[in-house]
Symmetry: C2
Subunit: 212 residues, 2 copies
DNA sequence: TCCTGTGAAGTTCTTCACAGCC
DNA sequence: GGCTGTGAAGAACTTCACAGGA
């Protein structure tokens, strides 16, 4: 019984890329099939969790044998939308923005960085790693012309809120936010926040509050 | 009634840094008290959620008035362990490692990067932003001497697994992992994974599978 | 009147446990 | 014998709704 896509647990979605990575890894190792137990072992999930997650999208497993690795790679790529190219813009060409723009993993995964935005006159109207750098004032025009679908935000804290607001206004519906700013956004948009300080703070919390 | 620290929901811990940031922000705005409703509004949480989270640690609110901002900043800093200095090492001085080493937010938040590890002879035995760069072979010795407690891993994919294993072996109990590798670790350790490709993949998923 | 703190209810996610198939 | 798929049970988290204090 295939779950309708509407009711996939959020947590299942977050794990799909991990499964995909595991399948790719085991393909490289020369395996043909992999069991839910083995997938779980490699990622610290229970086998039941793995089976339940994958069963949301169809009955891919073969009883007594496991999951066909190359079949599942194709399936997961389609489910995740990696069968198409996504056009990405990076906002902020500081150290982090530059690192993200240079990151090979993006292009390999079909996330194609087609524009960088910054406000520094020394940076704009040039290219960085062959990617054109525009002044942020050009945002709406460039987004429309290049059909940009995903924004990665790596601007300084003090301009973060305004930048994100302008990205929302420009109609970019997918945002990966590396800043501390939190901005309300419409339901049909999706924003994911990565906060370095926050992650370290919760590590700090756990280091203090566990028995050791 | 104060919850014992043992039973704080994991999700509550993840939100504590967000509350702390909100309190700091409202202090800068000149506020003295802030209500759970306002905290929620700024972060897209329900007011009940905010109250329940904060009530895990004590009764900080004043009925009819809200939370005393400067008191809560101190309290949250103590709860999160930000009343002490943490010694951090960065593994991998590539673009991302360099960006993280330069990031001012770390030092301000009492996460002090005291060592960088890499294997490139052109980089080791020098300093980067005044931080000494060691060859990874020196890991155990440096960790012991400098009492490093937290590792940030930003090495290339192919050496990630081995690097993380060596960090675990060296006894660093807090790890922030920017690589795709997933390595099992003992219960008393804490590892948080940040996976750029994974985040973009789930954004991709949601862009496809929402009604628009 | 405003806002907190919190049991109780509701929702979402995870694990169990086993029938069924290879 | 090994492994999947899945209802049912259990655990974890969130929201409701209201008593009670400032």
């Amino acid at each position: 019984m295939v779950n309708t896509l509407r009711t996939i647990p959020l947590f299942t979605v977050e794990r799909l890329s991990i499964y995909l990575r595991t399948f790719r890894e085991s393909l490289v190792e020369g395996m043909d099939f992999i069991s839910s137990t083995e997938i779980g072992k490699r990622n610290d999930f229970t086998a039941a969790q793995v089976r339940k997650d994958l069963s949301c999208f169809g009955n891919f497993g073969i009883k007594g044998k496991g999951y066909n690795i190359s079949e599942l790679i194709n399936t997961l790529e389609t489910i995740l939308g990696l069968d198409r190219e996504w056009k990405v813009a990076i906002f902020g060409l500081g150290k982090l923005g530059g690192a993200l723009a240079s990151y090979k993993g993006l292009k390999n995964a079909r996330f194609n960085v087609v524009a960088i935005f910054d406000v520094d006159p020394k940076k704009v109207d040039k290219t960085y790693k062959n990617i054109p750098v525009y002044h942020s004032d050009m945002l709406k025009k460039v987004v429309r012309e290049k059909k940009i679908q995903i924004a990665i935000v790596a601007v300084p804290t003090d301009s973060a809120k305004a930048t994100i607001q302008r990205i929302l206004d420009a109609g970019i519906e997918g945002i990966l936010n590396f800043t501390e700013a939190r901005v309300p956004y419409p339901d049909e948009y999706i924003m994911k926040n990565i906060n370095l300080a926050g992650e370290l703070e919760s590590i700090s919390y756990y280091l203090i509050h566990s028995d050791r």
